[in-house]
Symmetry: C2
Subunit: 600 residues, 2 copies
């Protein structure tokens, strides 16, 4: 009952303040000169109307200015620009800088939280942070240790702070937050530590708790209405968050929420995906393990679930479902549809009706994917919406202590957290992908709070019989379910893409290149070697009539964990160290912002 | 007698190998496409014949590529370019990278020494390193812990290594080495730990010791010939390195050798300066404290001293004499002269005849200098060559535990290690300077090996009644002893300058700007904000017919010690923290190479 009470008080506050928070934020979001939340907009399209830099002149791009963050290791996310100020964040210790765009990036203020470094070993995949967000004159930082801090955007002074989780139990944070209406939505990490995932809404005004929705557990914890919350059109029924688990395993069930959040204000819905069930040893958790690996649509004000779609029931490969949900309004068969497109770790590109949760398309966006033959699309089938698992690549069927080899994609998926972009001009999605396969040997593991709860040994390598590289940058048609073009890359593309009205798409590479390609053809138009490998996301803004492109460099993340954490044993870093060992021939640790523009 | 024996064996080897070592190195040094030792050439002119980038087109300069070193804190020195390979070094832990200029800076090899981090607290002024040097197919690295390593330039494999000192006694290294003929000359740091300074020559072939010359001590230690080694034209006589010290104080007498080295192959002489006498409390070491604070000319093969000139007898302000000696061939009164020009920490610009050690010019190169009224230039005076000390600013006369205030320059001098450049086209010296004054309170301190042996409390601040900033970049006429022009800077210019045949001079600023100015007028022609504050030295090279400019960013060094070491108490960092506190409004820690070129 606790969560229901909180929900109600949240609602009360909400009525008082919805209007102002929203108008200020959405109007800034609509202004292409600014970049106010990490995803660019609520639709997570990562598309900019700016077209001063375009496919004809992008070859002349120059570095305009640069800024070292003073921190090494993986730099995910991107800077924000609100008015004349740029906000730059760092990995742990999660410093935030406010830089004056009118004064060559002079530091207006710097906020450096004091965090216990004990949180570092509890972070599965580097000390990354996917960035701050703006709303209501405040900058929201969600620290590694799960403290959520609201900073006055002008002075850097703390307006409020609240603690969302407990690192001693393996609860940490790497995600950005989503400010929407009068709330700020935050997730949690720790799927590799048996954390039970949840999404929490705090009131922007004072940081008080509005609602919390767990990924698994009793109905009142997961905020479902058994009769009205649907899965592929059917009500989920009572106890859906516990009845596909054995015993109390759901209590340490994973399904963390460390990815991206999108929202449709018209529908009053927010969207996100949940991560892998814990442990990685599937034999220890019989059942579908709902609602891990699930796309969720929830009411923004109350958190109540409207619909779910579980992509990978009973995960056997660590294919977290947390990748971004990109919202588009497109026509299908002449009918305007409100769509949600999602490139899952499991290698399938999904298109759904975001209002109803109806599954429209589920197709492989990397031909290397081999663990499934595809999703059953027949609404009348009892397997409707389920992927058919290929026995050879089933780590459950092969059993504990057996090494299943040649599984594609690897655990880090055909795509991981690196967000794709969408251009309404081309109606294509630009997807940074991994082209990596793995060997996976599950083993029995016991749970101790705050200790790794992984239960599998992995090795990773480039997809065999292909171009030899570990990544592709692709253009995807979400209605046909087809790759339009594909650019082979030596390493996974671990950077977020940006599409612009200048008919170009930008992305970064793990070697450190910023690249610009033609959005129609994929032809390379520009590249520049930034100081360190790129796992940040490309953003753009305009200042004094000039368009700029900004990107953070700083090798790390799961793909770069070998360099970031100084690991050399190939199986370390959950199997990534060996696969990406050659990265050290190209780049070293860094932490820099590079800003580009056209010559004067 | 030990050192004499070693000298002889050194000489034997030398005869066998002089020719080849020298020819390879000097021919590369003469090739403006390459940058083979830190100082550019043996004359330490930091001048390049390259003129593709010139005063008309430098405004179009662009960032060509960048590289993060993976290390934070102060980045002094510069990369080298030998053939198609660039060599980049870092501060502690002193990583060396070989980057392939034909393949976008791909890492050919990386050498990362294992060093005990206990050396860090024994380094007085940040964990800097002034760079590697090339000779004989090897890259020479002198690590913080005083290990000298010869690396195969192609593979990075260790050819030999030798240990020069003992960090447990406060002996460390920050300096580059000078490969000359068949030897590699190395210095030592630790003046703030009572180290007795020395210069050591190792044989390039195998790292065996050739000779070692201490700065003070018995004649056989300091390698003087009492009859033939001169000071201002007069033989130094017997025991010159002990008879101006009380008791055994010379044994912990300082005079370290952490600066730059130059050489005149024709004269077979090498030149350098010695540092402050220990302690900083002058009352504890009566006498002139020879040969601290001294310019030294030594025979390259034997180390034997030809002449000395002590600039600051009985130092009372920490005005180390280690700044570079710039060798030029110029006319004075129609006569060609072999000159040595030196901008000392004490604020005087000296011009000497480098063959004889005759003092020609000694004038203030910052009008703020107030501790002396000038040097007695009368050869017949008993004070010939001595600076006249102004009583008010004499920390000795004011006494122990008395705060002498308003002394200009501050301990870090009108110039510190940041090397000046000389253009033979303009016959002007381009000098990065400090414009900082101090309060200095000496106190009694006792010596414990490996513990700080400082004995003074300092505060630093911008020169009063001036432009408010802490630095100037000046052009100097070394024959007239006159400032030609002076560019005020907000902070000390802690970066080394570069002059080119394109009639431009480059330097970096502590805020992080690379600047290019007109070598005749000082007019600013270009500036660019690099990722972090610059204390590195600008270098240039040519690759495939294109001229490039390279600079390391990474705030630190003595001026940036507050940021580098995270200190905030104004008196910390030997007084520098308070003076440079405002730096944190402009820059954060970094470690990046930025390479510039003209657009294609
Ligand atoms: O289950 C989790 O809680 C969790 C957290 C994180 C994270 O917070 O970074 C990652 C993952 N899982 C994960 O599976 C994964 O592939 C991953 C990649 C990265 C990254 O930033 O590169 N983080 C994470
Ligand atoms: O006396 C010494 O041994 C010694 C060593 C060093 C050094 O090795 O960096 C500096 C100094 N002194 C010194 O006086 C000084 O001003 C200084 C500045 C710097 C620098 O790199 O910024 N090092 C040193």
């Amino acid at each position: 009952m606790r969560s229901i009470k909180l929900m109600t008080s949240g609602l009360a506050l909400c009525v008082a303040s919805t209007a102002w928070a929203n108008d200020d934020l959405t109007s800034k979001m609509d202004d292409p000169a600014q970049w106010v939340i990490q995803t660019g907009d609520y639709a997570n399209q990562r598309y900019s109307e700016l077209d001063q830099i375009n496919k004809d002149n992008v070859k002349d791009l120059q570095v305009a200015w640069t800024f070292s963050t003073g921190v090494l290791r993986g730099h995910e996310g991107s800077p924000l620009v609100i008015g004349d100020i740029m906000y730059v964040h760092t990995p742990f210790p999660n410093i935030v800088y406010a830089l004056d765009l009118n004064d060559d990036g002079k530091i207006i203020w710097k906020y450096e939280p004091k965090q216990d470094p004990d949180v570092i070993p509890v972070m599965c995949c580097d000390t990354v942070n996917r960035g701050v967000a703006y709303a209501d004159g405040k900058i929201f930082l969600h620290q590694a240790d799960t403290k959520v801090v609201a900073l006055d955007a002008m002075t850097g002074e703390v307006a409020w702070e609240v603690v969302n989780g407990d690192p001693a139990k393996g609860e940490t944070n790497t995600a950005t937050v989503l400010p929407v209406k009068d709330k700020v939505i935050v997730g949690i990490s720790g799927g590799e530590f048996g954390v039970r995932g949840s999404v929490t809404a705090y009131n922007i005004a004072d940081g008080s708790l509005a609602w919390r929705a767990y990924s698994m557990g009793p109905d009142e914890d997961i905020l479902v209405d058994p009769e009205n919350t649907t899965h592929l059109g059917t009500p989920v029924g009572a106890d859906s968050g516990t009845n596909t688990w054995e015993g109390d395993q759901w209590m340490i069930g994973g399904g963390t929420t460390w990815g991206w959040y999108s929202a449709d204000l018209e529908e009053n819905l927010m969207y996100y995906g949940t991560g892998n069930p814990s442990t990685w040893n599937p034999a220890q958790r019989p059942g579908d393990n709902r609602w891990s690996m699930t796309i969720m649509a929830r009411d923004i004000d109350t958190g109540e679930a409207k619909w779910f779609y579980q992509m990978t029931p009973h995960d056997e490969w660590d294919y977290d479902g947390i990748n971004e949900m990109i919202l588009t309004d497109q026509e299908i068969d002449g009918q305007p549809r409100k769509l949600l497109t999602h490139f899952d770790r499991n290698g399938l590109g999904y298109t759904l009706d975001r209002v109803t949760g109806e599954l429209l398309v589920a197709d492989k966006y990397d031909p290397a994917v081999n663990w499934t033959t595809g999703v059953d699309m027949d609404p009348n089938s009892e397997n409707y919406g389920r992927p058919a698992v290929v026995a050879e690549y089933s780590t459950e069927q092969n059993g504990e202590d057996v090494n299943s080899t040649g599984i594609c994609p690897a655990a880090l998926g055909s795509k991981d957290q690196q967000p794709a972009a969408y251009s309404p001009k081309t109606e294509m999605f630009y997807v940074p992908t991994n082209h990596v396969c793995m060997d996976y040997e599950p083993f029995r593991v016991s749970y101790t709070a705050g200790q790794p709860y992984v239960g599998a040994t992995l090795a990773m390598y480039p997809a065999p019989d292909s171009h030899g590289g570990m990544g592709n940058f692709i253009a995807w048609d979400n209605i046909a379910g087809e790759i339009k073009w594909s650019i082979p890359e030596q390493f996974s593309v671990w950077s977020g893409a940006l599409a612009t009205a200048g008919d170009i798409v930008f992305y970064g590479t793990l070697e450190g290149y910023l690249k610009a390609v033609d959005s129609e053809t994929g032809d390379e138009l520009y590249k520049f070697k930034t100081p360190s490998g790129i796992i940040g996301n490309v953003m753009t803004y305009q200042h004094e009539d000039k368009q700029y492109i900004g990107i953070l460099s700083g090798i790390g993340g799961w793909a770069g964990i070998g360099l970031a954490a100084g690991l050399t044993n190939p199986n370390d870093g959950l199997g990534a160290v060996g696969g990406y060992a050659a990265l050290s021939d190209y780049t070293a640790l860094g932490g820099q912002l590079t800003v580009f523009s056209l010559p004067n």
